[in-house]
Every structure is written in C-alpha cells, then in structure tokens.
Symmetry: C2
Subunit: 314 residues, 2 copies
C-alpha cells in the first residue's frame, strides 16, 4: 500500500501557515513543499533564501509568532554592528537567522546543492515535511515598473513594494531531480497551491523550466487557495499588484489567473457568492474559512483543502 | 619640516598593546603598523583577519579588556545558533565581531584590497594610526609538526598550540604599494618590532617577498622588543615553540633570532644580566620594564623603545 503523498507550492509567510496545518493533519512524511526561491539573493556576501527559511522556521516551531517570519527570540547585535561600520542595513539579518545564511553559504561554496543544504537544515530541526527549493540554480524574480527593472528585494524590502508594477521577469533555474521525483512519486494524491502571492511567490515556481510540465504529467488534481478574501489580501502587496496589473481584486480574479493551472480553488466563506463566477472561469470552487490566525485555523483549512482535492480525483 | 614617522611590525594581542602605547605617545598620524596576516583564514565562508582586528579593536578602544582580543560587550547568539545547526564552532565568532568579517568579505568580493578595507575600518573607528596588512594577497602561515603540515588556526585554536613544532612555512603574498611607500616615507625615524611571537607573528611579515628588503633600504634603525621575560613568555606559545625548535628561551635567544634583522633589542629589566650576551650577538641592548598591564605601562614602554631607537640613528 502506498502512502498518500501531497505537494504544496508555497511562498513565505502565508504559505508557511498552510504548510504547518498540512504538516500537522497529514501523516509524517506525506507532505513535500516546493518553495519559491525567486526571492533569494546575495546580501553581505551571504546566500539568503527568505521563503525556505520561513518554511523551516514555521514547521520547526522556531518562527517569530508576531511577524510570521524570522526567529522567535531573535537579537540584532550583528546588524547594529554592521550599521555602525556603515555597511548596508536595509535588509536586516538577526543574529540567529544569520547562522543559517552563513552555514548555507559555506555549504553551497563547498559544492552542496541548495536542495541538500535545505534538507540538512530540515533534518537538523526535526521536520516531518520535506522542503524542496524550486531550483538549485538561481532563478531571481525581477519586478518591472514604468521606469526600471528592479531586483526583488529592492522592490519588496528596500522600496516597501511601493513602486507601481507593470509586470515581472522570472529567472531561469531548472527543475531539480528532487522536484521531478516528487512530481512523479507514486501515490501523489494532490498538488496544492498555498494562498501566497500568485505573482511574487507562485508564478516563479511555475516558471522554472520543466517544473509546470512535471506537475501536469501527474494525474493528481491541482487545488489553489485564494489569497484574496472579500476583495483584499490579509497581508502584503497582492491586492495592490492586482490593481496595478488591471486584474479584478477578488477570488474570481485569482481564478482567472490560475485558469489552466489549477483544477479547483478554495475561496473564503465570505466570498461564497463568487463560487459561480469561479466555476465559470473553469475551476471547481469550494468555500472554507481561509483566515489562519490560530494553529486550529491552519489545520481546519488544511483539512478542507485536502478534502476538496480528494473530491476532484479522476 | 618633515614629521617623524615610525613603523611597527606587529602581530595580535601583545603587539597591539605596544601599538596602543605608541599611538598615545606619538603625534597623530606618526605611527603606521604593518600587521601580520599570516593568521588570516576563511571560516564559515568569511575572511577572518585576527591580528588586523585585534589592532583595530585595541586602538579604537573597542577591545575586550579581559582577553586583549575580541570586542567588549560581545554576545554569542550567532555562534550558538551555528552550533545548533551542526556547523563548525571551534573558532568562535561573536555577533559584533562577525559584522567586521562579513563587511570585509563583502568588500573583498567587490574587488577592494584588504589594505583599503582595513583603512576604511580604521577610519570608521577614528584611529589616529594607520594599520597596513603585510600583504593583500593571501600569505598563510603553516605549522610543521613531525607528522603533518597544519593550517595556522588548526594548530593555534583547534589544537591549542599543543602539537610539537618542527618548523613553519610562510605563505607567499607580496609587499603592497602602501607598505612599500611607508618603508620609503621621508622622515622615517625607526622601525619597531613588537613583542609578538617572532615565529608566528613577525617572521610571516618579514617573509613577504619584497618587504624585508624594503625595510632594509631605509636608513632607519630597527629595534625589537623581546617577548621573553625572565625565561618565559607572558602569554601564548612563544616559549614552548622556542624549546621545540631548540632555541634558548631567553632574551638572548630572541637576539640570536633577530640578528641580521634588528639593530637593537629592548629586554626586560629583569633580564639586565643578558645585555652583554645580547650585544655579543650583534644587537645593541636596552633594558626597560616590558610588562604592559596598564595603559601607562604601554606608554612607558613605547617611550623607552622610541628613545632607544632614536639613540641608534646613524
């Protein structure tokens, strides 16, 4: 008998919340997360992977519960000393967080893949869930504005996502053997897309050459969870970006975006009236409470999403 | 009128104490320190320069007064997190200290020289004294033992200088334009050799191709301060190494080592009886209290050494 296996495509904070719910309600080892590395960048000479770390910290119980990213009990001695030296301090690295970046950079320089380094980090923190970078090769997301093509962290952190977006360039990269094997794994019951920002967190994953095709060759249903609730995003610039791109800021807008990618969309109970337009867009619709404040919220949304995906099996 | 200029060849802790005394008793800008970088190494992907940092921290008033190296008020969050990840923790980098290594590594990777990075660091901390790395290119010291050729920090920190030494290999490197200019500066009144470990801290400086020759072309007298007092070293493995190499553990042993290099040797008042054998070895001798516990001790030794050097002028 093959264990049911699940894939989750995820970005950072919002995705990590659903990942935690799935991690808790599924049997150990059943979940594999394919994580966006389009936000990865070199900073102070270090390889920083924000979404991978948010996932590890969240699943490992290390995350700062106030922010949803970074580490609980973090201190900032290093960063303050960098600022004192006149070094760049717009992207703040905590003392604990820094250990991960330094260790990752050291191992990558020694020839290990990002996949191997991430696996070792997960193992060290006793994770039940595997976290796979979407690509071992750099695949940086860049943000198009009227006047410039911005590096992702320049746009997102330094400029606080304030510039008006006209589009995105997704980097190259390549689907890794581990991701291809996960897509072809026997017993793959479903592929879930976290309520992460579709343009900043999910599109980079789907843009990795070979990755979307590998997902499509699986017979497993693909179900997305809408990051838009009642016409707004809970956090981050998703709604702002949708407006700037001329996309309707609604679950239906998300459904249109995921048309041809996902088979179904979980939309918030507040948006029940949109089930019909979502289905008209070609996706099956399921409503559920999608706001994840507590661990119980996360587990409940995980269960609802899994049930929905199971119902879509061919 | 040209200002009197002085050079000091120095390693870490002991050398930095004399450097501080000289820095305080000489006019601002009169002192240039040529520092050993034979201990430099890459650790956790970072370029660590222990002696340069000890000099900057000491002259900048940032040093931990208990150890003579590292920073006052240091914290260890990063290092503990590295250990938690299973990363190498035998060479401990504090959170504050780390900022220097990361900033240095970043600037070197961006194409700056170690000389330029060190100058910027000194400027940032308001130093009156210039600190010049002996070489911009790597010039790593290696330690010969009966069975192995050890990297310096492996010998010194990981193995606590316990292996029995049979000799040393000094790395390549090259005298930098800044060092050559300092050796040729008008008004060079003297070249001092700090009471650092001759084999571990001074010999690597003198072994840099072109550097000893540049010192010799100057007419300035060269005066060393003995690191051996009453047959022992105040700290570190100097006496142990001398025994292992079959060198007499005395100021006279130091005089023999510096024969042909230095014109004079400052020996401790406790070793006044050695003035004659030191002079028999071909160096002029001067006794002075050389134990530097307080800032006043450091200034007094600085004054005595400067006076002695001035007396040796041709």
């Amino acid at each position: 008998m093959t264990t049911e296996r699940w894939l989750l495509l995820s970005g950072g904070v919002g995705g990590a919340k659903l990942a935690l719910g799935l991690d808790r309600v599924l049997p150990p080892g059943a979940l594999t997360v394919i994580a966006n590395t389009g936000d990865d960048f070199r900073h102070l000479g270090l390889h920083v992977s924000p979404d991978l770390d948010t996932l590890v910290y969240t699943l490992g119980g290390l995350v700062n519960p106030e922010t949803g990213w970074g580490r609980d009990g973090e201190t900032w001695q290093f960063m303050n000393a960098v600022a004192e030296l006149g070094g760049p301090d717009w992207f703040r690295l905590g003392d604990l967080d820094l250990a991960v970046h330094v260790e990752r950079t050291r191992r990558l320089a020694a020839g290990e893949t990002l996949t191997a380094v991430t696996a070792a980090l997960g193992e060290r923190h006793g994770l039940r869930t595997r976290i796979l970078p979407m690509s071992d090769a750099p695949a940086p997301t860049r943000v198009r504005t009227a006047n410039a093509l911005l590096d992702f962290q320049d746009y997102f952190v330094r400029q606080r996502a304030e510039p008006v977006v006209t589009g995105f360039d997704y980097g190259g990269g390549a689907a890794t053997p581990a991701v291809l094997a996960a897509c072809a794994a026997p017993g793959l019951a479903g592929i879930l897309i976290a309520p992460s920002n579709p343009w900043l967190s999910i599109a980079p994953v789907l843009a990795v050459p070979g990755l979307a095709a590998a997902l499509r060759t699986s017979a497993a249903p693909i179900v997305a969870v809408s990051p838009i609730i009642a016409g707004a995003a809970l956090k981050g610039p998703t709604a702002k970006i949708m407006r700037e791109l001329g996309v309707e800021v609604s679950a239906t807008g998300i459904a249109h975006y995921y048309r041809g990618v996902a088979d179904g969309l979980v939309l918030d109970s507040a948006d029940a009236a949109e089930a019909t337009p979502v289905e008209a867009a070609g996706l099956r619709a399921r409503t559920a409470p999608t706001v994840m404040r507590t661990l119980e919220d996360r587990c409940a949304l995980a269960r609802a999403t899994l049930d929905f995906a199971r119902s879509l099996r061919p």
